[in-house]
């Protein structure tokens, strides 16, 4: 079946059309969902795209987590539905408590706009199931608050449960344990700072993002509860 993927638009999101375009090129049917909606229109997967939701006021993601659609997003995630947060979307997912930890200001106090190598560290997640362990992906990053941090206890849990799905080959922002992306205990919710949607066509300098968004499309095309749940969420 053709996977239907909802891309959530908050006031201030600015990567939603890139995500829709990339998903469309991967054979999915992508549609925009407004943050003020309370339903998800029956989609098979969700992407929270990058940008500056609600102007990043107070903290990135702090206001977005209270957007009306977030209750449905939380229920969808709890039911095992695949949810990907890219950059600002990752920040929203941590603020909403759907992923552990937080994204603090980059070490070095610089806004980073560059391309980095990202290593696939786990293939058991909604974002990496079509990749090979150890794959090195060239992906753009574009953030000021991308320095992943969490308590030592949470870090130990993420490591023990193989939930660090992506690491930077060379750490650009100070993230603990070189973390570029993590997943939930149920492995269906994944957040990452790099932008796979901007690396889905050779014209853009890299199409390494296709394997990640392709994983999401593949996950969304089958029953998520069967394909992903290794541990109960």
């Amino acid at each position: 079946m053709t996977a239907r993927v909802g891309v959530v638009v908050f006031p201030g999101s600015n990567c939603e059309h890139d995500v829709v375009e990339a998903l469309g090129s991967l054979g999915a049917e992508a549609e925009l969902l407004w943050h003020g909606d309370t339903g998800l229109a029956g989609v098979d997967a969700l992407v929270l795209p990058g940008g500056f939701a609600h102007g990043d006021y107070l903290r990135p993601g702090a206001i977005a987590r209270f957007s009306p659609i977030m209750s449905a997003v939380t229920d969808f995630a709890a039911a095992g539905g695949p949810v990907i947060g890219i950059c600002n979307g990752f920040q929203v997912l941590t603020e909403a408590g759907l992923l552990p930890g937080a994204l603090q200001k980059n070490a070095g106090a610089r806004f980073l706009c560059t391309t980095v190598d990202v290593v696939v560290e786990s293939t058991e997640s909604a974002l990496t199931c079509a990749a090979q362990l150890g794959d090195v992906l060239r992906l753009p990053i574009n953030h000021f608050e991308g320095n992943y941090t969490c308590s030592p206890e949470v870090l130990a849990e993420l490591q023990a449960e193989d939930r660090i799905v992506l690491r930077y080959a060379t750490n650009p922002n100070g993230s603990v344990d070189d973390i570029a992306g993590v997943c939930s205990a149920g492995r269906n919710v994944v957040g990452l700072m790099p932008h796979p949607e901007r690396a889905c066509d050779p014209l853009l300098g890299s199409d390494d993002g296709r394997v990640l968004l392709g994983s999401l499309v593949a996950t969304a095309s089958v029953e998520p509860a069967l394909s992903l749940r290794r541990h109960p969420a």
Partner: protein, 81 residues
Amino acid sequence: MRFPVLVEVRLRPGIADPAGATIQRALPALGFDGVQEVRVGKAIRFTVEAADEAAARRQVDELCSRLLANPVIEDTAVTVG
């Protein structure tokens, strides 16, 4: 009664503060030597309606933990009245 509130949102000890470090590095150029431990935070002021100061403080503590601060990286100092 209406109580004025000041919430100071601070990065927790041990959380990197690149903005504070940048300010600290700039100060010697202006002749301010010996300034250390610069930390940048936010000050948020508002008023709340509550029966008494203790009730106001309870309300403020809850809104701090639910919205104003992210407990993974921040803590708060609350002044009521």
